[in-house]
Amino acid sequence: MASLIGFYSLIFGLCLSFIIYFFSIKNFRNSLIFDSKIIFFVFLQLLFVTISFFGLIVSFINSDFSNETVFNHSHTTKPLFYKISGTWGNHEGSLLLWLLVLTLFIFIFLVNSKEQKKKYRILTLLFQQIIIIGFFIFVIKTSNPFNYIFPIPKEGLGLNPILQDPALAIHPPILYLGYVGSSIIFSSTLAATSLNYISNNWAKHIKIWVLLSWIFLTLGILLGSIWAYYELGWGGFWFWDPVENVSLMPWLALTALLHCILILERKLLFTSWVIILSISTFTLSMCGTFLVRSGILNSVHTFANDPQRGLFILIFLFCLIFLSLFIFFFFHKNEDKEKYNFFWLSKEMSILVNNWFMMYFLTVILIGTIYPIFLEVINSEKISVGPPFYNKLIIPFLVPFLFGMAIGPKLKWVKSDFKNKLYLVIFLITSFLLSALIVKNFNISFLINTILVTSAFYLFFITLRDFLIKRFNNFSQNISHFGFSLLILSILLNNIFSTEIITNLKVGETFELKKTKIIFEGIDEKNIKNYNVVIGKFIIENFNGDTEILKPELRIYNQPNIVTSEADIKTSLFEDKFITMNLVQNQNYFNVRYQIKPFMIWIWISVLIISFGGVLSIFRKRI
């Protein structure tokens, strides 16, 4: 029943798109004021998609296995929370979520843009409706979440257990808010370009959307990263895996856009560049969906997929790119040439340099991600591009990037000089000495590590100083830059100081290495609703004498029949102690992995600080 309502709501939603088109075009041509009927229809469309989405949720809650999606991804013994999160934990449901956010955002946009020109609002709506119609057809034709199966199965196939996790339950919605938020930026940029409406006023108004999607994208990536850290059992947080890369690419483009919008708010500079960035941000988000969903990527995260769907998104994507390029070349009038000149040492220049770096990072990741696909098409050779590629190409460029981040905000608009900037040099020397002192004590390559840590410390101290003397031009920017320095610093220290022990142990055995002792005390078994659990008890004696009891788990899920290991992590401000165990079929040995990861929690905190800067920036503008 709920599925039926859901399906028909989808059809109605699609029909409404055409009604909206009809009224919008009529209104665009004939009238001077915005027709409030249109807002009503957009609201109605949002309502239908919401009903459809709730229809799917209700089917999941009731374990209605006559629905194919529910059958494939749910099970009666699953806890309620994961029944609900299962709604978007699969391809069909997640696309419905895309659609929901698309319609929700255009509604919010229309309500909040009353002070803008009528033509601009309608045109934005029309461009957004192109995307919405595309997704409606995509959902209904290739991935209908409401397919009916008969005879009705008694039991579902269950949700992949590694997705049954609180962080991953909210990861897709948050990430999608970021992805889809960029669709508003895309539509509004196209509308503004065709009407020649790109102005300081427009920049102020679209900045909120840029900030919003940027915040959600940042938080979405953070959640995925935290999940990978404790659920996948590697003890790492970023693997340069294609699926991770496709979320980082729109983030880089969006960050570049965020900085450019700051200039555009004040003067009409780099308008073409802003347009290109807006287009590429959304295109990259769509690309991300395409690459993850098509199964084309040879990724660690690969889920079994359907290539048909990939083809549809690819064609749709090319249409959108073609449309936006057409609008860009035929409608955009580049008027900002020669109007403003700026000195090489100025804020404009520093933002431009920031953008170059962002584009460089983006290019590296893009090439690393799609090169394997091309090679496979050309000579059917299967390759993968691993972390060394990214580390080698990105890390050296982080140094000038970080210095730029520290000095850039100190510069004035148009022209700046180095008067009264002696402290910049003093801080440089201090951070260099401090890093050398830290790095010297450890057996690692001195030069590269010192330079890296120096640049991170430099940004750290400079932003910290601004907090203390309260002489910042831009509080939220300072917070985000401070967060970024903390992020790089914790990642560097985490990489340098991490240690790990991997061994195979039987129950009761003890492993000893350099005064660290791992005692495998015993195992305990328990039955929980939809899985059995084996809890290991490990006593760890560290080199400094203190002991720690850690209890990693092995969960054997009933449906699907999959074993997952749950890491046991003792978190403190300075380090995480991380242990996982795994049992290979028919073997007596447990595979045990014990890691000490310094400053792990600071990686999460620093990303939170970075996005908090964005939140502040939104509210500061409003007040």
Binding site: N160, T302, I367, G386, P388, V584, Q585, N588, Y589
Partner: protein, 139 residues
Amino acid sequence: MYGRKVKLRFLFVFLILTILSLSIFLILKSLEENVVYFKSPTEIRNLTEIDKKRIRIGGMVKKESILMDEKKMNFVVTDFKNEINVIYSGAIPNLFAEGKGVVAEGYLKDRNLFLATKILAKHDENYMPPEVKKALEEK
């Protein structure tokens, strides 16, 4: 001959082009060095020479081939045409099991022996390396 402004602009364009070509050269160069090829046991059997480069192999873990002790684990990877022995010490992902698909990264010792440094986790129990899928379909 030309004005100062034109000269400056020329310099600017030249600078950008240099930086651009330099960075593309850099990317391609390190791509060449850091690419990891994926081979099936049959492809390894047909290799003419064995080099020291890191590669990935993929296939199914042969039934009843896993042998474990406290330091390492031995198993056999098969694509149902050819097999290869693998020695591995390190963390073992959950979905690693006999009769399931596996992708391992490491070095070839000879045509019969692969020293793995990493076993890659897959998130889906139904996942199968594409080569193996093909081999199964051809059967």
